[in-house]
């Protein structure tokens, strides 16, 4: 894999991680708060917390270990993209920890 390809992957990875994380949090909330009520709030918080830790780590990978070589601009894009997506993952999950249940 060339330096440039590695940089493209480093730019795309946090975005894809955020997307998977968003879907996971949405699915967990839906599993807990819709009529079927498949999981309880504690499970929601634990599972949500776990996927958030993994997701933030994956996003920060691009921040703390950007691919060496290639273009400075794309390295900057990978670092800043990773940072914004890491924040966005934390924001996605924040409500799970701020509220006591589906009703707030």
């Amino acid at each position: 894999m060339s330096d440039l390809t590695r940089q493209i992957v480093a730019i795309a990875r946090p975005g894809l991680t955020w997307a998977v994380h968003f879907v996971a949090i949405y699915a967990l909330i839906s599993a807990s708060c819709a009529a079927r009520a498949m999981i309880g709030h504690p499970t929601l918080v634990i599972a949500g917390g776990a996927v958030t830790v993994v997701a933030v780590a994956a996003c920060l990978w691009s921040v703390f270990a950007p691919p060496a070589g290639g273009s400075t601009d794309l390295r900057r894009a990978a670092v800043w993209g990773g940072l914004v997506f890491a924040l966005a993952c934390v924001a996605n999950a924040s409500a799970l920890f701020l509220f006591q249940g589906c009703g707030g």
Binding site: I8, I25, Y26, S30, A35, A78, G81, A88
Partner: protein, 838 residues
């Protein structure tokens, strides 16, 4: 200046061996111009048609404002008012904003990237005619006194047969779905063009920033449009066939429509904004005289916005009773999207600060964009907050916000772009003096209209009311907003006048009139039928600034690869998607009527559905299928190599994963997967929120579903073996394996159908959605079957020579995608059969 090389042994289509370079690229004249596939012609058609829809929608907006100018007005009756504001929103969002921006992208991208045309010119022509015919269907509703009146979002249950019994909703659903084909085809075309056809040396890091914006936008269209397409098909099926997808009495849910609509609707705002921001990012450095500040930041911002914009859709549904946790999730994402947006705006401001901006007319519109869009963004952050959203919901505050974002974020850059790129369309410059008047009128008129609407909304005036009582505190604000709208309209009218005036009386544009750095200004802006005699190697993002030799010579004398023509064919350079290194000679089609015929066939199919003339639908479908077959039947171009100049001996239309055909197929699979995922979302949603109704659904057949899963795997395996065999030029083996792939597709479809037989689609929404999922998978399998048989037929009739295995190569990718859909659908059916659907 023309160069023609002596054709050598070549099995591909013969087109123009007796012609010069200019002759091969010539645009047909007279009526035959309709058969042109040139990106310049198709792009301009998108732009002009989109602008006509903009003017029509603008007149409708003026009718709305005239109705609201005084309380208790009777200028429009209630029904007409509903039709007028519905059509205003529909035309603006679906038939103006996205198509006109795609038109600019279709026109500019090849010129900026150093390509002679878009990679799929016929697809461009096909998309344009779908757009035109779809738009005509929607507009023709006025002629039948059946204009849609349910809002541009067509919410259910209002738009169901029970509440809208006429054809108005059908006009909307069928016309818009048809027109959306153009958006999706343009998305696939642009993704492929940007990744596969760039000048030598133009790696992704040296690509003009506009191409990044368009690339991300195109991916967003590919993923964002399918939910609405599926939603529209489900709603039309409910109206036409009484399938109860959204009927709460049978386990359906009106909110499912809202989810599907806004899954498209909110990314759409960014789909509209990003290309316009890309125009700003292109024009701004020209007038500042410095490259865009923070290219890396801008790329990060665009990518981030592209992703996060898909997590905002439910902020349009804050008042629908979603759980607080869900609201918080969407509120967080809605707030977070402000971060990359702000990064981008700071890049623009820092670019402005890095030099001495020339205050030309396009620059004025850029400044207008910055000031208006920032205000729209800030009110957007306010609306992302759930408590404020509940207060402002469905009020004129929201109307003000969305117009600040869309007019500020898109219309101002667009008008600036017209002034900037007008020489490309007319060969002449538009007036600086009139342009300043246009800007002044538009800026003042816009703010007078919409700034005040924030107050009107905060004072409690709801949206979409045809009139209001006197003395509520809204009278003067509405009066001033209406006067502002007339001033805004005067600005637009003056712009139109200036455009037409400049066609005859504007000063002739010199080469690179603005002193820009991007390649579209390499040639003098009197549009020829072609782009580059030779494609110059590129060393920077602003080649015209950093490579002075490009402007030192006449454009046709510039050195580069692909000088002249080979085999009398239109061609451009295919490149590696990442590095931009020359990879192959990419053969392009010549003018043809076939895409237009295919679009006409589909128009007949869609139009006849409105008239319930189903045998005519069948005729339209057959015409379209025949046209697609003719389209694909022509001889393959691959299997030979040619001298491309500058030391490059390149294969023609290489058979490789990096080939444009394969990249386009991956893009198409992305669209198909998004369509399929929308149906799966519907299944899970209905199953989750209505467990009571789900329990009443009959279980699908277990054995048949299991057989479908096995057959789905067989589809993928046979497809892959077909590729391997074809690539090694084993003709008989490839033909046999194509037939086996076809047989596995038939087995998959049959097994899925058998599994669904016990389920009554009319008895429950979940049952109907199971059938819709099976039906969609069946359609994909039909395409696979047709494709596999088509490849086998070509081999049987010896239309496929050595090294010409691209159709089989692509069939494998399509078979793997189709197989995956069968396996997922089968797994859902098995889950339903084993655990019971409830």
């Amino acid at each position: 200046m023309s160069v023609t090389e002596t054709p050598t042994a070549y099995s591909g289509a013969r087109k123009g061996e007796d012609k010069s370079f200019e002759g091969v690229w010539d645009t047909p004249t007279g009526l035959r111009k309709l058969s042109s596939v040139s990106h310049r012609v198709v792009g301009r058609r998108f732009i002009y048609t989109g602008f006509v829809f903009f003017l029509i929608a603008g007149v409708l907006a003026l009718m709305v404002r005239t109705q609201l100018i005084v309380p208790g007005n009777t200028f429009l009756d209630l029904e007409t008012y509903n039709q007028v504001f519905t059509m205003h929103g529909t035309l603006m969002m679906f038939l103006f904003a996205i198509p006109i921006l795609e038109g600019f992208a279709v026109y500019l991208i090849p010129l900026m990237l150093g390509a002679r045309d878009l990679i799929f010119p016929r697809l461009g022509q096909f998309g344009y005619y779908c757009y035109l015919f779809g738009g005509i269907i929607v507009l023709s509703s006025f002629l039948f006194d059946a204009a849609p009146d349910g809002g541009w979002f067509m919410y259910v249950p209002l738009s169901t047969k029970a509440h809208t019994p006429g054809l108005s909703a059908d006009f909307w659903l069928i016309g818009i779905t048809f027109a959306e084909i153009a958006s999706v085809t343009a998305a696939v075309e642009l993704i492929t063009a940007i990744l596969c056809a760039r000048a030598p040396g133009m790696s992704l890091t040296k690509m003009p920033v506009f191409a990044w914006y368009i690339l991300i936008t195109a991916f967003m269209i590919a993923i964002g449009f399918p939910p609405l397409i599926i939603g529209s098909i489900l709603l039309e099926a409910e109206r036409l066939l009484a399938l109860p997808f959204f009927d709460p009495m049978l386990g359906g849910d009106p909110l499912l429509w809202q989810h599907l609509f806004w899954l498209f609707g909110h990314p759409e705002v960014y789909i509209i904004f990003l290309p316009a921001a890309g125009m700003v990012a292109t024009m701004l450095p020209t007038f500042v005289g410095k490259p865009l500040f923070g290219y890396g930041f801008a790329v990060a911002a665009v990518v981030t916005m592209g992703f996060i914009s898909f997590g905002l859709w439910a902020h349009h549904m804050f008042a629908t009773g979603l759980p607080i946790l869900s609201l918080s999730l969407f509120s967080a994402a809605s707030s977070m999207v402000a971060v990359p947006t702000a990064i981008q705006i700071f890049c623009f401001i820092a670019t402005l600060a890095s030099g001495r901006p020339r205050l030309t007319v396009p620059m004025l519109f850029i400044l207008g964009f910055l000031s208006i869009f920032v205000i729209g963004g800030l009110t957007g952050v306010m609306l992302a907050s759930v408590p404020f959203n509940w207060q402002a919901h469905d009020s004129y505050f929201v109307v003000a916000h969305l117009h600040y974002v869309l007019i500020g974020g898109m219309v101002f850059p667009l008008i600036g772009a017209f002034y900037y790129w007008a020489p490309h369309f007319t060969g002449r410059m538009m007036s600086e003096r009139l342009g300043r008047w246009v800007f002044g009128l538009m800026f003042v008129g816009f703010n007078a209209t919409f700034l005040l609407m924030h107050l009107t909304g905060l004072r409690g005036m709801p949206r979409r009311v045809a009139t209001y009582a006197e003395g509520l505190g809204w009278d003067r604000l509405n009066m001033l907003s209406s006067i502002g709208s007339y001033i805004l309209a005067a600005g637009i009218a003056l712009f139109v006048f200036d455009f037409f005036r400049s066609r005859r009386h504007g000063p002739k544009a010199p080469r690179n009139p603005w002193g820009a750095g991007t390649l579209e200004w390499l040639y003098p802006p009197v549009a020829p039928g072609f782009n580059f005699h030779a494609i110059p190697p590129v060393e920077s993002r602003e080649p015209l600034w950093d490579q002075p030799e490009l402007l030192e010579r006449e454009a046709h004398e510039v050195d580069g690869v692909m000088h002249g023509i080979r085999d009398g064919r239109r061609e451009t350079l295919g490149c590696d998607p990442v590095s931009g290194a020359p990879l192959y000679v990419l053969r392009l089609p010549h003018p043809t009527w076939i895409p237009m015929l295919a679009a006409a066939g589909l128009a007949i199919l869609f139009g006849a559905t409105l008239a319930s003339a189903y045998w005519v639908c069948a005729v339209g479908g057959v015409i379209a299928l025949a046209a697609f077959t003719l389209w694909a039947w022509e001889p393959s171009d691959s299997g030979v190599t040619r001298d491309a100049g500058m030391g490059h001996e390149l294969p023609v239309n290489v058979v490789d994963k990096r080939a444009h055909m394969h990249v386009a197929l991956v893009g198409t699979m992305l669209v198909l997967m998004a369509l399929f995922a929308s149906l799966i979302f519907g299944l899970l949603y209905l199953w989750n929120i209505r467990p009571d109704a789900a329990e009443t659904v009959t279980r699908p057949g277990l054995v048949a579903a299991a057989v479908a899963v096995v057959a789905g795997i067989a589809v993928a395996v046979f497809g892959q073996f077909t590729r391997r065999t074809a690539v090694s030029d084993r003709n008989l083996g490839a033909m046999a394996l194509s037939l086996l792939t076809a047989a596995a597709a038939v087995a998959s479809a049959g097994a899925l159908g058998l599994s669904l037989m016990p389920v009554d689609p009319w008895a429950s929404a979940l049952g109907a959605t199971l059938w819709a999922t099976g039906g969609f998978t069946g359609i994909v399998l039909f395409v696979l079957l047709y494709w596999a048989l088509f490849n086998a037929a070509r081999r049987l009739t010896r239309r496929t020579g050595p090294g010409q295995s691209m159709p089989d190569f692509n069939l494998a990718t399509f078979a793997k995608g189709s197989g995956l859909m069968v396996v997922v659908a089968g797994a859902f059916f098995i889950a339903g059969a084993m655990g019971g659907v409830g």
